[in-house]
């Protein structure tokens, strides 16, 4: 006997079921006709069905019948069906949308076999600071010394450059990388090729570039892009390739352009520690064998170059996934962040499921009579349960499908919302749905239908049939059990909605606090313009002259109170920092924001000069003058507590910086300003004059507008003045200081958080309102008889109205009370993450409950009004 043969025949029976059934019918009729007593032959239909059971397809027929029946039932109650599907679609949509986001940004491996890739960094053994980069000569020695463990070891260096890819110059992130960089990721190229070893060699003659997929897409997705030219910091590079879609390197976000490392001018210096190093392990090499190999190289480097490499170790780490949070490659952090991000949609899903349970339960009670009749006619409990389950699964499949569609839409909306937050051009991984999301969505929706479909189904089919039939006829009154369960579900929904609404309120409070922060200088009537003359081909000296000349022109404009240039503006996303130490001594440096400034910087920002003087024209014009600096009192207090700062000498300890360990004399002292919202105290600042810096290309022009002038109106005047000076110099940004603070990363993040929480809170609120409405409607419909009698005996409709509203309000109030406790708990967590909020924000904790209460009363109002309109005669006759 052959099993495959049997299965094949079974399939034939399935396909030809109708013909087979017909054959069976004819066969049985013949049998019956031959019998002496044809009446002795049983029920032909039933006999045929029994015979067909042998084919093993009964379940399929029953299932199809269940589905058809469920579709019919659902179509007959469009209100219920629509509500249930919308509820599920919202719950599932926000979850799979958020999961796609979390998956792409935090969970999904960024490249193939990512577990074999480690990042190698340098640590100064004495200092308690984070990982540091390697210099090119050290990288070469490391590469040659670790060939036993690494199949390839690549180095890259990231910076922000003005890139013009035919769409106007923009500030964007650029990587310079060695030839084996792309090899580590298995050559993730959509077009063209990666760098050759020759092209990555120091001082390589050929200037080539690889574009990121989004950049290539933005400039028209031209398949013949290879061979075209892109300009980086004013220099032309020939495009040789385009990276694969979604490729960002080891971390997020990635750069928009990759250049060969050979383009960099500092590669010869052993103390220019600018390189991030990543390596792919050799096949079969355990990750544990890496540290000893690194230690050996570190020892050798220390002996050979003690002045540069003394007291340093080489260590390895999982490459950090989020670029702007170095050192958090660890999975614990990403797991925590994922968990926090997923908590919001999970709460919405929970509310949606509670709602669904409520809907199914209420509907089940309404259908009790039908179920009782079907039960008494021989429908088994299992069969009835299966029927109810089929309805649940059908709802969840439809809801899940719509939810999936909703989520792709939500991802697009999120991406659009993220774009303005990103201050410069960056490459993000693909946020598309993948199979994980599909699987997740299907699991969510099936779980929802199982948990919230099985329970009512089982509860309903297990009843005593007779009691149900009887009660249905005689009793239209209260049903304490069902209503109580419904009320508990509503309480949970209200509480969870309040939690989300209150969190949204905290984010909003934080965004407002951040936007109204006192930065330590006057934000009003300030305008800034970001310009980079190097994009127009200016070299360093000419750029400096251009800036000084431009400031003079601006200063001469009517309505301008003061103007200056600086290498950065407070609250800008990217600033430079230096380790500042005193001379003599100064083993340990103080980390300070490093800003190159022009004349009148303090006056333009509205800061008084506390002591000393501003930079002189000679100091601003060229580096030949005496080397000087201005510090703020935050730095002065750290370096010389209780001493005067003027006349002291400082030095920068950063190896690789061009001005390392050259003494600077302090000539001025200014008040501290906040450079970022995330630091509660002002961060120390050190300012050096324009003439002392050799990277003066990209500067921010800062203008203080006179009180008589409108700062927004001034924007166009300033743009025109810059164009008059040289219309080839692109204006990379032009806005008021207030707008810069508002559109900065920090405020934007809080605002985005508020928006996300508000959307989730709004959805939860909507679901809770649907829940309240559903339960109230159900209660009113169950109590039609009671209301009828009371109206007949003279009860005023208002009494009934208030009674229904009061009962609804009571349930909501319990939910709000629980929700307040949850909200304060969430506040404790959010307090540590948000700017300027307390765990208990009275405004939030008053407004959010009021919104909920109003919404829930409104939801009870419709059923309550229905109660007052009960026609007593009709209500009593219906019995």
């Amino acid at each position: 006997m052959s099993m495959p043969g049997e299965w094949f025949r079974r399939l034939v029976y399935l396909v030809r079921r109708r013909a087979m059934d017909d054959e069976l019918r004819r066969e049985m009729e013949a049998h019956r006709a031959q019998m002496a007593d044809p009446g002795g032959f049983g029920n032909t239909l039933r006999l045929r069905e029994e015979a067909q059971d042998a084919w093993g397809w009964r379940w399929l027929d029953d299932g199809a019948q269940d589905v058809r029946f469920a579709l019919r039932t659902l179509r007959r109650t469009p209100g219920f069906t629509l509500t249930a599907i919308v509820t599920l679609a919202l719950g599932i949509g926000v979850n799979s949308g958020m999961f796609s986001l979390v998956n792409s940004l935090l969970l999904r491996p960024l490249y193939a076999r990512s577990d074999e890739v480690v990042s190698v960094y340098r640590r100064v053994t004495k200092a308690e600071d984070g990982p540091r980069g390697l210099s090119y000569p050290n990288y070469l020695d490391l590469r040659d010394g670790t060939t036993a463990v690494f199949a390839s070891l690549a180095a890259s260096s990231a910076w922000f450059a003005g890139v013009d890819a035919g769409e106007g110059a923009r500030r964007t992130m650029v990587y310079a990388a060695t030839a084996d960089y792309f090899q580590i990721f298995g050559r993730p190229l959509a077009l063209g090729r990666a760098f050759s070893a020759e092209e990555s060699r120091p001082n390589a003659a050929r200037r080539v570039a690889v574009l990121s997929y989004p950049l290539w897409e933005r400039r028209g997705a031209n398949p013949n892009v290879v061979g075209q030219t892109v300009s980086v910091d004013g220099e032309p590079f020939t495009v040789i390739g385009v990276t694969a879609k979604g490729f960002t390197g080891t971390s997020i976000p990635g750069p928009e352009v990759w250049l060969p490392l050979g383009t960099q001018g500092w590669l010869d210096a052993r103390d220019a520690h600018n390189l991030d190093v990543i390596g792919r392990l050799r096949d079969g090499v355990a990750v544990q064998s890496v540290p000893p190999a690194l230690a050996t190289v570190a020892r050798r480097l220390e002996q050979a170059f003690p002045s540069v490499n003394g007291g340093q170790s080489l260590e390895m780490e999982v490459p950090s996934r989020l670029l702007f949070m170095p050192g958090v490659g660890g999975s614990a952090f990403t797991a925590l962040l994922s968990l926090m991000l997923m908590a919001l949609p999970a709460i919405v899903l929970l509310v949606a499921c509670l709602n669904l349970a409520n809907l199914l339960l209420a509907r089940g009670h309404v259908r009790r009579q039908e179920l009782a009749i079907r039960g008494s006619l021989g429908g088994s409990r299992g069969r009835l349960t299966r029927q109810l389950l089929t309805e649940g699964v059908l709802l969840s499949v439809i809801g899940g499908a719509i939810g999936l569609w909703l989520s792709t839409w939500a991802i697009r909306a999120t991406l659009a919302a993220l774009r303005p937050v990103l201050p410069v051009g960056l490459t993000l991984p693909d946020l598309a749905l993948d199979w994980r999301v599909l699987a997740g969505t299907m699991t969510f929706s099936l779980l929802a239908s199982l948990v919230f479909g099985v329970w009512p189904a089982w509860a309903l089919t297990g009843r005593a049939v007779v009691t149900d039939l009887k009660r249905q006829v005689g009793d239209g009154g209260r049903e304490p059990g069902g209503i109580r369960v419904g009320n508990v579900l509503v309480v949970a929904q209200v509480a969870l909605s309040l939690l989300l609404l209150a969190s949204a309120g905290l984010f909003l409070t934080s965004a407002r606090a951040a936007a109204t922060v006192d930065p330590g200088f006057r934000l009003e009537r300030g305008v800034l313009a970001e310009i980079d003359p190097s994009l127009a081909g200016y070299d360093d000296a000419r750029a400096r002259a251009f800036h000084l000349g431009l400031v003079d022109r601006i200063r001469a404009l009517p309505g301008v109170e003061a103007a200056t240039v600086a290498s950065s503006f407070p609250f800008s996303s990217f600033g430079e920092s230096r380790l500042v130490a005193t001379v003599p001594g100064g083993a340990d440096g103080v980390d300070a924001v490093f800003t190159v400034i022009g004349r009148d910087y303090a006056r333009t920002l509205g800061l008084p000069t506390l002591a000393g003087r501003d930079f002189s024209d000679a100091e601003l014009a060229s580096g030949s003058a005496d080397r000087v600096a201005i510090v703020d009192d935050a730095l002065a207090q750290r370096l010389w507590p209780n001493q005067t700062a003027i006349g002291q000498t400082i030095q920068f300890l950063d190896a690789g910086a061009p001005d390392v360990k050259r003494p600077l004399r302090i000539v001025g002292l200014v008040p501290a300003v906040k450079h970022s919202l995330s630091t509660p105290r002002p961060f120390p600042h050190v300012y050096v004059p324009l003439g002392q810096s050799d990277s003066t290309e990209a500067m921010t022009l800062q203008v203080r507008v006179a009180a008589t002038q409108n700062d927004r109106a001034m924007l166009t005047t300033i743009a025109r003045t810059i164009r008059d000076a040289d219309d080839r110099v692109p204006i990379l940004g032009l806005e008021t200081w207030r707008d810069r603070l508002d559109s900065g990363v920090e405020v934007s993040i809080f605002r985005a958080g508020a928006r996300v929480c508000a959307v989730f809170g709004g959805i939860a609120l909507l679901l809770a309102v649907i829940g309240v409405y559903g339960v109230k409607s159900y209660v009113v419909s169950r109590r039609t008889r009671e209301f009828g009698i009371r109206i007949a005996t003279g009860a005023h409709p208002h009494t009934l109205l208030w009674q229904v509203l009061w009962e609804g309000g009571r349930v909501t109030a319990v939910g709000i009370a629980i929700g307040l406790v949850l909200a304060v708990g969430a506040g404790q967590i959010l307090q540590g993450l948000l700017y300027g909020v307390n765990s208990v924000e009275p405004v939030v904790l008053v407004i959010a409950p009021l919104v909920l209460l109003a919404a829930s009363l409104l939801a009870s109002l419709v059923p309550a009004l229905r109660a007052t309109r009960v026609n007593p005669i009709a209500a009593l006759r219906a019995e």
Binding site: M1, S2, G5, E6, R9, R10, Y13, E23, L24, R26, E27, M28, A30, H31, A33, Q34, M35, F41, G42, R46, L47, R48, E50, A51, Q52, D53, A54, W55
Partner: protein, 109 residues
């Protein structure tokens, strides 16, 4: 009055196969033959016979074909297949072994 066989489905299938080894038969004839052979002791209900026949068809132990009966009626006739004979032999051997073991056991006990 013949009693319903009450035979377990597997045994009924073997009995039907055994009947079919002599000649191909249609459903009614199978039921009649079983009844006569058992000396009116056993009868098989249509409710058991037809599921058993469907199972035999699925297993490939019998084949069915329509033909005209002696009385000029269209009947569906079942014929045992080689694999059906093999199965029957195997089951018969198993049955005999079992029966003789039981026999010995019952006599000696």
């Amino acid at each position: 009055m013949p009693r319903d066989t009450g035979l377990p489905p597997g045994t009924l299938m073997m009995v039907v196969l055994r009947v079919l080894t002599r000649q191909p038969l249609h459903g009614y004839a199978i039921a009649q033959t079983l009844r006569q052979r058992s000396g009116d002791e056993l009868s098989v209900e249509e409710g058991s016979l037809y599921p058993a026949l469907q199972k035999l068809l699925l297993k490939g132990w019998v084949k069915a074909a329509w033909r005209e009966s002696d009385s000029g009626r269209q009947v569906r006739e079942y014929r045992i297949t080689p694999s059906g004979r093999k199965q029957l032999d195997a089951e018969m051997n198993e049955y005999r072994r079992m029966a003789s073991a039981l026999d010995t056991l019952l006599k000696e006990a």
